[in-house]
Subunit: 690 residues, 2 copies
């Protein structure tokens, strides 16, 4: 089967006219001709703008949408899981019991959720390219950072609390846009079902279909202490999705690698994916055992384990795609075609011809510094929240003294509100758990860098990872929000005066961490950026603008339809029904239905569609995306892809790549009959009648 | 540096005249000309035979040697670690405290150690090839199994207690020999230092050098309840190894992949190594956390964790070698050369030409059934000792009813003594720990095979992995040796009557396990065997007999010399001294010296050489090998290789591949001054004077 798939993918990728469901389109460049040709759909005036404004991004890595004029937000349970866990205690475990704010006043603030609504897109390509023209290495790197910070700062203006601006690099440097968002940081939890129902089937069923999950969560955006009033939102459709119906997903796909060069794909396969998998799987074993030790351990590490298992399975799928020899042969062919096109014209060759080799050389550098980068600048060595706090405080004090354009990107003015939201989060910190994670990551640091590495010696001295972790965690005061606030507001003077052991650690190692980051920026990233821009320009010359850019965790539209697929010679139907969940239940986690569903069984419409699949082209980050019909009504809630969709990082195969969604009808059925959440269900239903 | 290495390796592998330290030579085919040319060494008459008989194999996967006429055996601590752990209790932890039998009567039997002394080698190539000639698939597979079982049975005769015979497949089917061993199953522990000294530096220093380990263990072979009298043994040399001295390692390298085809190397890289690493790393995390829970948990899982970490690091090294694009380009070149040689002659082409493609096709089948094989027939799903007991009992009852030649290989007459030694082992079983491992492996079964797989449903039913593990472990009586003996001796009647839950589980799934094993044998192994034989024959035609076969966990001689190497531009000296261990100590595990060494510090010769490196060509399985001089005296004890040696699976590069050994002088220094083990030290020293 693989061979046939690859041929299709190849055809899609090299010929824009063979349009399929493939594509994650920016709001300002929808494939109008193809929509008309394939779906007989010509979006009416204002349609795209309305949809753009009703869709949302969760800054932590998800998507969502407004579903009522008073700021109700629909997203996935797994997108609000960390909030649900942070609001839980040993006595009230909302992960287990679910959460529902019966009254408006019961809606509780999520300590770390930020919502972004995309208001405008402005092209700034010329300005960015002019700033970096003729530069390379450190000079390029600095110029690029400076111009981006300037653009963002100007865009934000004085309203950084409510406005967020990000310069977005599309087509690997082919286009630079500044995306201006309305920012919501007062976001409250309204509803979350029990994890057992949201994630029924757990890790074994993750990325699988047939599926029986109610992976939903409801938030509400607040402004000035009151529910936000919004003009654009998606009402629920009457019946929900039907087979073969056109479905539109509007969300924020996190990243794809469809336009990487061969040398970059090799790095992805041999270095990034593999190293991440090895570290994730060991951490997974550790946390599984930690969770088995007590109900409380199970509770506090639940969200981490979910994240690890989810990433692990996704990376496994990606690695398998990259290990298929056919994949590389197709990708090689694509690259050769573009390269040949470049070489065929002397002027083009002079302009673009050296780009591929330059990127390949940067990959060699990357391979040499990737491990030091992960363990000195990345979080490989210090997998604990304390370290994140300490680094933000130390660097925040240093960076804020500099002009905006010279700062590390994450400390520029336009980024500070998100950073401080995390830093001042009231989410609880569990010292014993932090010790386990820190001792583990310090051990990995020693393993990956080697016991004789200078950085390792600097961190550990003559101590063991466990002894150091104990000492640091026992000695720190950073779990206290007030302490963090005081240090942040006190700036350098306060930070320098602090004798907190994590602050001291960060201060000691920061020069080494910054040094490896600088090498990464100057010798790898800037080289890749410059040369990927050249390749992007060559691609534009050959294919024109009828292509879509790799995903960048910004808003994209994807067009597909409700359709099953053939797997190992058998047709998988596109819908599951509520009855299927009861049939699959064993009584044991993760196949145990919650008591609320067992109690409501008699009242439920067993034929109500529960989950379904569509041909929409999505990727991680699309979780929580609204799935709407041509009338911009919600027919489903995206929460996953099938196993075959994991290769979607590298291409799209319409025959087997499927998006998995919760049916809008199941959401209403459950809210009414299982959760008796009438206040919420009524608000959703009323939105249709406005 | 990598490029230069590869060129050398290539030269070595394709030209037998460019003789270096490379080579793991069978005792009956030593490279005499090259020894004379390179080392001016012409082994005297009987030398090879004497050495062959003084060397030993530990059936579980190590090497060793006799070092006294009364059966004293020198090997590594990590080769006796499992015995030391099995003899320990919560009250007496010999892993921590070390073990020394002050009196002869204090020597304690190791429950699972079997020693093999290689007595004779007989070529049976013609007989094996005649039996399989013209056959393929299942027919080939059955014929090969039958002829091997017959040969082994005839070789063993009636003395299966003391004689063991294995048909050995050399040069991938180029030569079949039957190796006749003297078998020792009454093997007692005499001495083991503290793990802290045997494995000073632990996992971080594993495969590294400079090194400061006393990785030694001493056993004694018994016969008829008395120390075995042996004619061939290695006395210790007077001063131990000197720089540039010729060193000979005689041991049992477990396996190398130097003659695999490209398609096999790709399978090794993409399937075997990767899957093993992913499973090992998760299990590693789990067991690390389990060990952190209490001193007792730490004790009972110590040996497992050591094994996992050791394998993990070795596999990482192998994977990195296989990911180096240069490696495959060299291997491709070698394969093309042989292939061209075959194609150049029509008769040769007709005979051998299709072999590579046939092996490649078998690899495709292998990739499709590797996961089912691991989880149904392999131990992937049932990582617990109980399952091993139950399978041996169920299959043992079934297989022993069949004629010897028709049995599964591990149940043929000549293999039963080793099997029953394991089955009747008195080593303790810890139910809580077994539950942890079993629940984990059942979860992995569900993950890798999928929740909807028929085998998974058959095993789990509607239970969770944890619930099933608890039920099985709580219900079984197989921890009791007497129960196992009764079931073994009672044969089918007893096994069929048993309602032990593990017996029932094995009985239920055995048809599915046997089915996938049969596919593996008929569709993969027999195809590879037949075609690897053809390639081996072609290689003989091209290169003659001046090559050595891939390692097969049988006795091999390797010739090298004491020599440092250049690493990242710096020369690494070949010796460390005792002083270095004190300098490296931090007081924290794994860099904490045991109290015995701290106490003895003043009396120790700080300049005594502790560990050293040589250019000998070894691989896993060589652990515990004697390192002798040309007079067949012990100058060192092999226990490891440097990081660069891990690529040795695929080739040998004399410039950087190094064997790591304990210096014989350090062994005597420690026995005398640290451990006051005079009875033992005197016996070793007296052997020289015989």
């Amino acid at each position: 089967m693989k061979h046939a798939i690859v041929v299709i993918a190849c055809a899609l990728a090299t010929s824009a006219s063979a349009f399929a469901a493939e594509g994650m389109w920016t709001p300002d460049n929808l494939p109008k001709q193809e929509l008309q040709a394939k779906y007989k759909f010509s979006p009416p005036a204002q349609w795209a703008e309305h949809v753009q404004h009703a869709a949302l991004r969760l800054a932590g890595g998800c998507s969502g949408s407004f579903v009522s004029p008073t700021g109700l937000v629909l997203t996935n349970h797994h997108c609000v899981n960390s909030c649900v866990q942070q609001l839980s205690t040993a006595e009230h475990d909302f992960i287990k019991s679910g959460f529902y704010a019966k009254q408006a006043g019961d809606e509780v603030k999520c300590p770390e959720i930020e919502l972004n609504r995309l208001d405008t897109i402005t092209n700034v390509t010329d300005r960015v390219k002019k700033a970096t023209a003729g530069k390379s290495g450190e000079e390029y790197s600095n110029a690029e950072k400076a111009v981006k910070s300037d653009i963002e700062s100007e865009c934000v203006g004085k309203d950084s609390e409510r406005t967020r601006c990000d310069v977005v690099d599309l087509y690997h440097g082919g286009v630079y846009d500044v995306y201006k968002y309305h920012r919501y940081q007062d976001v409250r939890l309204v509803f979350a079902p029990e994890l057992a129902m949201a994630f029924f089937g757990g890790d074994p069923d993750n990325f699988n279909f047939p599926r029986y999950d109610l992976d939903m969560g409801v938030l509400r955006a607040y402004e000035n202490g009151k529910p936000a009033k919004v003009a654009d939102y998606f009402p629920f459709s009457k019946g929900g999705a039907e087979e073969n119906e056109l479905t539109i997903v509007v969300g924020n796909p996190g990243g794809t690698d469809r336009q990487l060069t061969i040398s970059q794909l090799e790095t992805t396969r041999d270095v990034d994916t593999l190293h991440a998998l090895l570290r994730l799987s060991e951490l997974r074993g550790l946390i599984e055992q930690f969770r088995s030790e007590s109900a409380e351990h199970s509770r506090i590490a639940q969200n981490d384990l979910f994240g690890i298992e989810n990433s692990y399975k996704a990376l496994r799928g990606r690695l398998e795609a990259l290990q298929d020899p056919e994949v590389f042969s197709v990708k090689r062919k694509q690259e050769a075609e573009l390269h040949d096109f470049v070489d065929a014209d002397p002027a083009r060759k002079a302009k673009y011809g050296a780009a591929w080799d330059a990127i390949a050389r940067a990959q060699t550098t990357y391979r040499n510094i990737e491990i030091p980068y992960q363990f000195k600048e990345g979080r490989g060595s210090f997998f604990t929240r304390y370290f994140g706090f300490a680094r933000a405080l130390v660097r925040g004090a240093d960076e804020r003294k500099k002009p905006n354009a010279e700062r590390l990107r994450e400390y520029t003015e336009s980024r500070l509100p998100s950073l401080t939201q995390q830093l001042f989060s009231t989410a609880p910190v569990y010292p014993e758990y932090e010790k386990v994670k820190l001792a583990y990551s310090l051990t990995k640091m020693r393993e990956w860098l080697g016991a004789d590495d200078a950085f390792v010696k600097d961190v550990l001295g003559k101590q063991s990872p466990q002894a150091l972790a104990d000492e640091l965690v026992d000695g720190t005061k950073l779990a206290d929000v007030a302490v963090r606030k005081q240090l942040w507001e006190g700036g350098s003077a306060a930070v320098d005066a602090s004798n907190d052991p994590f602050i001291a650690l960060v201060r000691r190692i920061d020069p080494q961490a910054r040094a490896v980051r600088k090498r990464m920026e100057d010798e790898v990233e800037s080289v890749v950026d410059i040369n990927a821009e050249l390749i992007a320009a060559a691609r534009f010359e050959k294919y024109g603008t009828s292509v879509y850019p790799d995903a960048t965790f910004t808003e994209r539209f994807s067009f597909g339809e409700v359709r099953g697929w053939e797997e190992k010679g058998k047709w998988v139907k596109p819908f599951t029904e509520i009855a299927g969940a009861f049939a699959r239940a064993t009584g044991f986690e993760p196949f145990a239905l919650p008591q609320s569903w067992l109690d409501a069984k008699a009242s439920l419409n067993m034929n109500q569609r529960l989950d379904f699949v569509t041909t929409n082209d999505i990727i991680g980050g699309n979780s929580g995306s609204p799935m709407i019909n041509r009338d911009a009504q919600v027919v489903g809630l995206v929460f996953d892809g099938n196993i075959e969709s994991l290769g979607g990082d590298f291409w799209f195969d319409e025959r087997v790549n499927r998006t998995v969604a919760v049916h809008s009808g199941a959401i209403l059925e459950a809210l009414h009959k299982v959760y008796k959440a009438d206040r919420l269900a009524n608000e959703i239903e009323a939105a249709r009648k406005h």
